[in-house]
Symmetry: C2
Subunit: 337 residues, 2 copies
């Protein structure tokens, strides 16, 4: 069967305590002993039992990641970043509760999922209800948010309001006046503040430029390409005046819109300028102007901050606003005057 610390101890003719110390690189072990223990452990193929360690220390060396999806561009990449940092620091990654944003109120995120199971929690691109926050607070566990802010938590993400402002300003600078916004769906906006922040950034920028915010120019997708295309259809079908530019809350929606435009023979950027947020892998290929952000780095830094907190490093906790950058490509052009 499985070899335990005791097997190693016997074979190395020391106590289990010494084996434990030697293997973990603690001081107060003579070099000779340490070497012998290491050799025996290797020879026997000893692997410590995380359950036993966890039980004895109260810490699991495991971090939970709470996220609604993995198949969205930002989410998957942020997860990669978290994974990189965790792995490099010897932590495991427990994936919690995919399955989308809640329908109604039946998300089952409870203390149970978390308590005694993980040392810290990364929350990716989702809000937490008041009661969820309370449950979490009870556990005393460090939490960091990635992709968007959560009240009372450290967060690593861009300033979404500012990013939306930059995107919108770019369109305005190009002379556009009739600008539409492809925003998140109801579910997105209930579950996560970021879609709303982007919409607000857009609205505020339009207002301060003295431009009209037509309600029919604000259309909901759900941050996917498919819904982006569908929502684009609704914009294109609008009677009366058409927008000359669209700010999309995500590149995935922007790409969906571009596909739909193409299907209808609407030329980009001649007939319509499009700007998104993300810099999705496909965006450079599609020539999509966008606000680029680096989710892998977000994930890495979030995990780093979290682990510092888990390990009790002083000054560990800090809010981080990550940089973003406008990438001008072929999907936006000056409005012909």
């Amino acid at each position: 069967m499985s070899v335990s610390i005791e097997d190693v101890a016997k074979r190395a003719e020391v106590s289990t305590a010494t084996v434990s110390r030697a293997l973990r690189g603690l001081p107060k072990v003579s070099p000779a002993t340490r070497e012998r223990v290491l050799a025996v452990a290797a020879e026997l193929g000893y692997v410590p039992s995380p359950s036993a360690t966890g039980l004895a220390t109260g810490r699991t060396k495991t971090v939970g990641v709470l996220m609604p999806f993995v198949d969205r561009w930002y989410f998957g990449h942020a997860l990669e970043g978290v994974d990189q940092e965790l792995r490099s620091r010897g932590y495991n990654l427990l994936l919690l509760s995919l399955g989308g944003y809640l329908h109604g109120n039946k998300r089952r995120f409870t203390e149970q999922m978390v308590r005694k199971q993980i040392d810290g929690l990364v929350v990716l691109c989702m809000g937490l209800s008041q009661s969820e926050l309370e449950e979490l607070a009870k556990t005393q566990m460090p939490v960091v948010a990635v992709g968007g802010p959560i009240e009372g938590c450290v967060g690593v993400h861009i300033d979404d309001f500012a990013a939306a402002t930059a995107a919108t300003t770019h369109l305005i600078d190009l002379g556009h006046r009739k600008i539409a916004h492809l925003r998140g769906g109801v579910k997105d906006e209930i579950n996560f503040v970021v879609p709303g922040l982007r919409a607000e950034g857009f609205a505020a920028t339009m207002r301060s430029a003295g431009l009209e915010l037509r309600p029919e120019f604000s259309v909901a997708g759900d941050f996917t390409a498919a819904q982006g295309a569908a929502a684009a259809g609704r914009i294109f079908d609008l009677p009366g005046e058409k927008p000359t530019a669209v700010f999309c809350g995500s590149d995935e929606m922007a790409l969906g819109l571009m596909f739909e435009a193409r299907r209808r023979g609407i030329r980009i950027p001649e007939d319509l300028s499009v700007v998104g947020i993300d810099n999705h892998d496909f965006s450079v290929l599609a020539g999509l102007t966008t606000i680029a952000q680096d989710p892998v780095e977000h994930g890495r830094q979030a995990a780093a901050i979290l682990l510092d907190a888990v390990e009790g490093k002083p000054e560990a906790i800090t809010q981080k606003y990550m940089p973003f950058q406008l990438l001008k490509r072929e999907s936006t052009a000056r409005l012909p005057s």
Copy 2:
């Protein structure tokens, strides 16, 4: 601090053994006692310690998922499927070793990652070296492969050779004779058999149709859109005769190729027919003809098979070939004669 089974036992005035039984729904507990225990547990907010349970039972109720990426279409969706099934059966999901396919030989997948830590392993879209297989065998742990076969393991995936045949046959049926293949890169083909299987399916089909396999018509991408576009460029730059159709080993590469074609003014399908494999979320929007498969379902079934094995269900282990389907869309057309 944290409430333990003993706290519950005391408060309910029973032994810890009874609490344990009551909470796990075991028989031989009087309804009255069970109710009281349940009530006390709820009142105290008791949550069992997975470490303690794991140590006592030797099982962790956790399944590992080994995968090189999460940001590829198939991978992310398969992961969703695995997660769904695991969650519905009360298992946790430990994400192992992202970070791409190995460069050289330095992937660190060892017994250590796995032993005493998980009850079973899902291997997603990657091969395992002989030594890795041996390490795994030592653990006696059930393993199932998703997305492609692994020697000696149960697998859930499509028949990739047949899928490639179907795609290629579709092109041939449309009258194409000069057909190129956008295949996987060196790293993909070393680490995973699927790219090779698809290339072989293509080659075999071409041969049995009596068509010429020109070496310069076989170009390597790496299963991403970006590399698909780059590889497409190499095809388009070929001197002399051009292919009239391309079979792409994945939709992501096919989409990359379509973007590149568009950039160069190459019309699809008028100048070039394109078929992929996957039915990526963007494919329907792009009008890409493809061989559709359902990775979420693959993941679900793989997890189901794995858990049956973990739980010792008889006849649990079975190989599964999943269905696929040719979806004819606008990227393929009859070759004008």
